[in-house]
Structure formats: C-alpha cells, structure tokens
Symmetry: none
DNA sequence: TAGTAAACGAGACGGTACGTCGCGTCTTTCG
DNA sequence: CGAAAGACGCGACGTACCGTCTCGTTTACTA
C-alpha cells in the first residue's frame, strides 16, 4: 500500500495530509539541525518534498509552522497528577515541567517560540491563544483541586501563587540558563505550602 | 578648535566615536520604530549616516549592536537602595526592576535581546557575560547586605532566594504578558521575608 | 487575449521573453548613455524593471549581456552584396563594414566587446564562437564567389587576403582612431585586386 | 648603505623613487598574476608596500599606472633597422613588431591597454599621446628613409601604406587571435613592395 | 464515464537585505 | 612635507530568501 501510493498530486476536496505532516516534520528536523535563524521556508519546502506554494497556502510564517509542529508533538502532554494530596501533586508537576522545559526537544521549540514572541506581539497573542492559556489552566489545576477539596481557602489568589511556583523555573530556563533540578523545584513547593497553609 | 573640527573621516589611530554613537542611537530608535524583525543593518547605517562597512568593521550582527546600545543606555542604572532595612530595600528594588522591565525602552530592548538569546546560544553566552552576570550581582545585593548586617543567617541560599524574588517578574514580563504591579512585587517581598525569617 | 495577458511573473516552462528583451534593451541604452565602465548590472536591472536575480539567472557577466544585446541588434546585418563582380562586391562590402564599425551603435558595442576580450581570454573565445567566426565567413564570401565563378584561381589564400582587406580597417577603428573613409577602403580594394589578378 | 637605509618614510624634498618603482613593478607582476580585471589599486599598494595615498598622489587610475609601467619596460624598444634596403628593413621590422605584439609580456600589457582604450576615450587620447604617436613615427621610418634615398617617390601616401602593412598584424593580434608568423608578415611586405614600386 | 475544479510539483518573477570588495578621500603620526 | 597606516562614506557586487505568480498534472467528486 505504502509502496505504490507514490506521490500525492492534488485532491479536489481538502488538503494533503501527507504534505502537512511532511512539512511539520521537516520544520522540526531543520530547527534542530540549523537553528531558528537558519530555518527557511525554502529549506522546509525542499526538505519536505513540497512546493513553496503549498506551504504558503496553509501557513503564513515559519513560526506559524513551528507552532503547529510544537502542538503536534505535544500529544504526550504534561498530565497533571491527581494524588489527592496538594504536596505530592505539586512536587510531581513541577518536576515534570522543569524537565519538559529544559530537557526535551519540544521544550526547546517552546523556548524558541517564546523567544520569537518577544519581538512579535502578534505572534505572542497567537501563542497565548493556542498554547499558553491552556498551559496556564494546567498550571492552576493542582491548586484548584485543593480548593475544591477544602484543603485551601476560596480566597486564595491562585494566579499569584502559580506565578511564584512556575516563574522561577521559566526564569532559570529562559534567562539565567541555570540548572533546574529537583532540589530547586521542591524548594518552590515547600515555599508555596508555607505561604498557603 | 574642537568646534570646527567638522566631520571625522577616519584616522590612523582608532575608530570614530561620532560614528559609534550615531549607530547605537539609530539602532535604538529603529528598534522602537520598526520592531526587531524590521530592524536591518542597512537601515541602521542609512539612519546613522554611516556606511555599512563601518558597521561591519566593529560589530558582527544586529544583536551585537543592540547589546552595545542597551549597555550604553544603562548609564542611568538600577541603583540598589540601601536603607539599612531589608524589607524596604527589597520592596524598592523589585518595584524598580518591574518598572524597568515592563515600562522602559531599555527594558524593551532587553526583552528583545533575551528573546534572541533563546535561539542563539552563542549570543546567550555573550549576553550573560556582558550584562546578566552583573545584573545578578545587583539582584543579590540587598540580601547580601542583610547577611553582613547579621539580619540573616550565613547559611541562606541567596541564589535560590533571588530566583524566587525576580523569577515571577521575568515570567510575567516574558511569558504571560501579565501586569507586574506593586501589589505583585510587594507580595513577592512578603513571601521572601516569611521564608528567610 | 494576448493583449490583456498583462505582466508575466514566471511560469513553469521557461523564462520571460519580456524580461529578456527589457534587459537587452536597457543594456544597450545604458552603454550608450554611461559608457562601458559606468554600466552596472544593478542599473540594467533597475532600468529594465527587472530584479537582479533574474539577470543573474540567465547571464553571468555584463559582457555576456552586451554580447546578447549586440547579436540581437544584428538582425539588420551586413548583407554581402552579390553584383557578379568582385570589384563592386568588395568595394560595397568594405564601405559597409567601415561604416558599421565606426559609425553605428552596434559597432560601438562591438568595439567595447573587442576591448574587453583583450583582458578576458574566456570571453574572447565566446566572442569568437558566437560572432567572429560567422563574421569571418561573411568577410570571405565575396572572394569565395569569385573563385567559384572562375574569376580567381583555386590556389588563392583567401584568409590572408581577407586579413589584408579588413585588417587596416579594424586597425584604424581600434588602434589609431583615424578616419576610415571611402578613399581608404577603395584603396584597400584596389590593392587587393592588383595582388590577386 | 642599502642595509641600514631601511624603509623610506617621507622625504622633505620630492617623491620617493623607491616607491615609484615598487608600484610599477607590483602593477606589472599583478597584471600577469591576476589579469586586468583582478588588478586593484589596493592590491598594488599592498604588494608594493606602499600606502594607497602615495599611489593616488602620483597616479589617477590603474591604467595610468599600467601605462607608466609599460613605458618603463619599453627601454629595450623596437629598433628600426637601417640596412639601406627597404625590403630588408620592412621584413625585419614587421617580424619584430609581430613578435613584440603577440609574444612578449610588454605586448600583452599593450593589448590590455588598447582594450581599455576601447571604452575610455580619455585614456585613448592619453595612450596616443604618450605611446602610439611615437610608435606611428617608428612605423613610418623605413618608408621615409626610402623616400629620402629616392628609392620611392615623394608622392607616396606613407600613412596609408603603413596602415596596410601593420593593420593586418594588429587585426590578427587583437581580433581574430590568429597566428602572426613570418610567412604572414613577409607576404605583407611583398604586397607593399608591389604596390609602391 | 467523462468533466471539472481543487490542490499539487515546479520554478521564474520582482523585491529586499545580506555581507564583501574596492573605490577615492581624509586624518594622524612618523621621520 | 612625503609617506605609512588605516578608518571613513560610498556604491556595486553576487547570493539567499522572501512572498507572488503562472503553468501543467494529478486526483476525487459530480453530472
């Protein structure tokens, strides 16, 4: 089947899934291989075996492609654990987040996208809509569950707490480049628990 | 005599200070006017009344220029207040930092540079050497003074504390785009004081 | 239909004839206007309303363009008259040649190309292949016809005769800059006839 | 003396002969090594160990330098033999001229200069004044002597005869690139003698 | 069982900016 | 005061990608 499937050359109704996936994969590969600055739409097209026009038909910028590629890769997400214990949930979640941000390929792509968002406000908005908002919800989840369970008071400013939990992690990942180990994330959890209890 | 020196067109010993300053100023202006992506070396040269070759003689990339321009602008620095009181020092310092990062032109340039550092590890290293390290020292200063005064124990992990103090500020500025008001920074100080005392 | 075809912006099968002609015409015009040294590919592109890349796609140097332009202009050629009389043929042909070389725009382009060939052996070879060889055939034609008619012996060294006929004309045009009038060309014909008869 | 003379760095009284010769020699060498197009004033300065300004103080263009270099090399000139016999004089002279033009380094430089003169009328005038006029006198010499001796009539159009004698040689050297051997130059002499006698 | 229309590959096009090279000018310092 | 050194403004070079535009081809739905 795959053998004689040969090339796809158009379809009256709807786009070629084959082309779409080839582009996303090529974008990912080339980002790793050449870096963000060395990533060109022309190269993506060539490497994906796709014409430039096909890319421009469906995406408008290279960061648009990268965002799609990133979200595609994000199938294996950041599951928010639910141990019924705020401490264990947070500890587990922050460790995962730190690992994701600093150690995985997808994390590298996210850092690149956040970097680009610093000098493109339109893209910053898109990134928020398509990824960050959802991620923020996940960040809050452990605390929200604790409130529901009555473990924490309704009056808690969850947003502020989340910023103090994850902020230092992003700071090290994006700014100082310092290590983000379990000692560090556990300390963040400890500090949080002392604040809220 | 110095007055009618007119234009400087090169001499045997060293570069033209006039050209240097014109480039840095033009880079600053154009970054604000056109944004990072719209900032070209060609435009900087034209706007500074300087030839491209003169730029390439002294800088290698546009971020190189921007970093110089940023450091030049940083004369009016972030003075670290010394009230003799840890609380007042921190409260003051964080407010200044937040204002600098989110409200000033220099802060915008810094965010752009941090953004670029996300996809250029070489530049990230340069940025650290030429700016961030020094900034980190400033960040630590208030706590270090408190230790010297005996207000805080020697055993304090100052680096970790600093990350928890400034991390959330950078996080909001670089990632969520959320407001960084005095209520937020004061809460960070409160949390810090509770941790260390 | 052909009327409203409007602008051509590239297509799958080959180059834009419109762009090709615009380049050749612009090259011709600019050579006359600015001279050889003042002729730049950038100016040709601008004047032809064509991008530089389009020029570089099809030509490698400005002399390459000029040679094409010259050959294009050469539609109205140097017809070799055939009066059935060697004397009348030669007299007519040499007058035409002298006029062409010293008085016409195309002649000026040819002198420029010959000039460039003096310090570019590769181009000299190209010039021979694409123009001079054919021109040499034309130069020989009148004598060859006379041989065919039996007017001249088979043993005649036509190449040597041609060099003595046209050589002095090129010499004056290219080296001394002296006038090449009819008295001069007629004298060349007379001398030739005396030699061969 | 030569030992401790070291470098010359300015002179209160007139220009440096050392610099002048170094420039001319470097120009010659580089023309051979890199060709006319690859010959730059910057390279000449570097290769001669001379500053650009020194070159510009004394010459205006690179062809100006080359012309000086050419005339300097022309010490060993084209002596016009005087055997007391027109035939022997001409035969000898044309052979020398052909050899000079097509086989010597100085001939190559002359061809380059003639090439440049095709697209620079100002330089063409300079070349005539500083070299060609003198050369034309030499070309005429053998015939003039024959007239003086009474061997040829006063009424002879010497200029026209010279063009027919040397024209074909320049034509082959500059245009067709054909060989210019003794058979060819001797034939030219034969034809001339038949015309004038 | 054609026709037909969307999506495709290919790739030429007008552009913009790149980073480099050489030009000719200028200034400073040395001898 | 000539010469070395070398920075400067300038302009063209040739290249890389940009995003747009045909132009045939492939394919799956529709008539």
């Amino acid at each position: 089947m795959a053998e004689n499937a040969a090339r796809h050359h158009g379809n009256r109704h709807g786009r070629s899934e084959q082309a779409r996936l080839a582009v996303l994969e090529a974008a990912d590969d080339l980002l790793v291989e050449k870096g963000f600055a060395g990533l060109t739409i022309e190269a993506i097209a060539a490497s994906a075996g796709v014409s430039k026009q096909t890319i421009y038909r469906w995406w408008s910028t290279k960061t648009d492609i990268l965002l799609d590629a990133f979200l595609q890769d994000l199938a294996e997400d950041l599951p928010v654990p639910d141990h019924g214990s705020l401490e264990r949930d947070l500890r587990h979640y922050l460790r995962n987040l730190a690992y994701f941000l600093t150690r995985t390929d997808a994390g590298a792509v996210l850092r690149a996208l956040l970097g680009h968002a610093q000098h493109d406000v339109d893209f910053a908005a898109v990134l928020r809509t398509r990824y960050l908002d959802e991620q923020l919800s996940r960040d809050k989840l452990a605390l929200e569950r604790a409130v529901e369970r009555g473990e924490l008071p309704d009056s808690l400013d969850i947003a502020a707490e989340v910023d103090q939990l994850v902020g230092p992690i992003y700071y090290r990942a994006l700014v100082t480049g310092g290590a983000v180990d379990e000692g560090f994330t556990d300390a963040l959890v400890d500090a949080c628990l002392r604040r809220v209890s």
